[in-house]
Amino acid sequence: MSEPIIRHYGPKAYSDHPPFSYPDYKSTVLRGPKEDLLTIVQTLSETTGPGPVWSEVSEEDADLTTNAGTGGTAIGERIIVTGRILDENGNGIPGVLIEIWQANACGRYVHWRETAFPAPLDPNFIGVGQCLSGENGVYRFLTIKPGPYPWGNHPNAWRPAHIHFSMMGPSLGSRLVTQMYFEDDRLFPFDPIFNSAPEPSRVRMIAHYDHDLTEENWALGWRWDIVLRGNTATPFETDDE
């Protein structure tokens, strides 16, 4: 074939996402654009993206309880986090690179900038992992439940427990970085980052405990589906039926 395939997707649902400036999260005020975004037509530059060229992922990368490579096992509540990567029509998207990073069970990140919070590091936990979504968009990680941790946004500020998720979908517009939260976290009302998302879409960031996923004598199961912008149906398919 000599003509590229252009898969146009619908406009970004900005109303599903946080605003650029959300003053309760202080750092946003000077860091988001004030001018209106300039609307451009989608070209090959927008309908393609870096997702599909990433394929070098090993199975060990999806197990954060052992991927520190020390031979030891991370301390904490062992959990399975699984779900599907979906497009806006609910189709599973295979081959999406999913990268995660998180604090350890005590709420401590393995990062040189983390110096203020006197919580212990775990030598057997580095807090990063990755996998590719499989058939039907299914992904799965084994990790430990991160602890909440304090931050400097306002007095006595604590982040609810969360795992950072980065998704490289099939197109530039489907790029998504978000955070997965755990249902019933008592810190939700106090967290401006969680609450920056519009109320109707906030629940889409919350994983639910699922006893059917829980494995006997091994790990508790949490389910979380992620919806990326766009429609991955080929241009030859139609949504009419």
Partner: protein, 190 residues
């Protein structure tokens, strides 16, 4: 068919470099004919942003993207992904990419766009990503015909043009990103 709402974006936070900006991911090519793109990310007070996260996506020198939808019969160096990412420097707010200058990509009117690189800007204190494009100061003719640039108010067009610096090898293009202010970079919705 029920439309599923998008999962909301959240900030990458201060610790994204644990995973997202690994050593060397800002170098897309080490070929002799590579180019360097460097600049600083600024906030609305004019201060550099010490923890911005930049990702770039571009076609190769032939104008072809390393993507299954780009089925054109054009050269494609398999090792050139067209994707790079980096954190801005914590002390200076500077970033740097080494890459190949992209070729021209078709536009929807049957012509070709000027060489450009797509940029996704995120960072601590940014809840939703913004998208911009890097064009090149030594592509004046192509830039003048470019569908996207033509739609940008002339007074703001320069915010999208990386300036070729004098006398460096490999050639260095400077591209600063201003999130707010008089010279706010043009960000796109598409």
């Amino acid at each position: 068919m029920t439309k599923h709402g998008e999962t909301p974006s959240q900030t990458v936070g201060p610790y994204f470099s644990m995973r997202l900006a690994g050593e060397g991911q800002n170098v897309l090519s080490t070929r002799d004919d590579r180019i360097v793109i460097e600049g600083t990310v600024f906030d609305g007070a004019g201060d550099h942003i010490e923890d911005a996260f930049l990702e770039i996506w571009q076609a190769g020198p032939s104008g072809r993207y390393n993507h299954p939808d780009d089925t054109r019969d054009l050269d494609l160096e398999p090792s050139f992904t067209g994707f790079g990412r980096t954190a801005s420097d914590f002390k200076t707010g500077q970033y740097r990419f080494e890459t190949l200058k992209p070729g021209r990509v078709p536009d929807p009117e049957g012509a070709f766009q000027a060489p450009h690189i797509s940029v996704i800007v995120q960072g601590r204190g940014m809840l939703t990503p913004v998208f911009t494009r890097i064009y090149f100061s030594d592509e004046q003719h192509a830039n003048a015909d470019d569908l996207v640039l033509r739609g940008v108010p002339e007074s703001r067009r320069h915010t999208l043009i990386a300036e070729l610096q004098d006398g460096s090898s490999p050639p260095v293009y400077r591209f600063d990103i201003r999130m707010q202010g008089d010279d706010e970079t043009v960000f796109f919705d598409f």
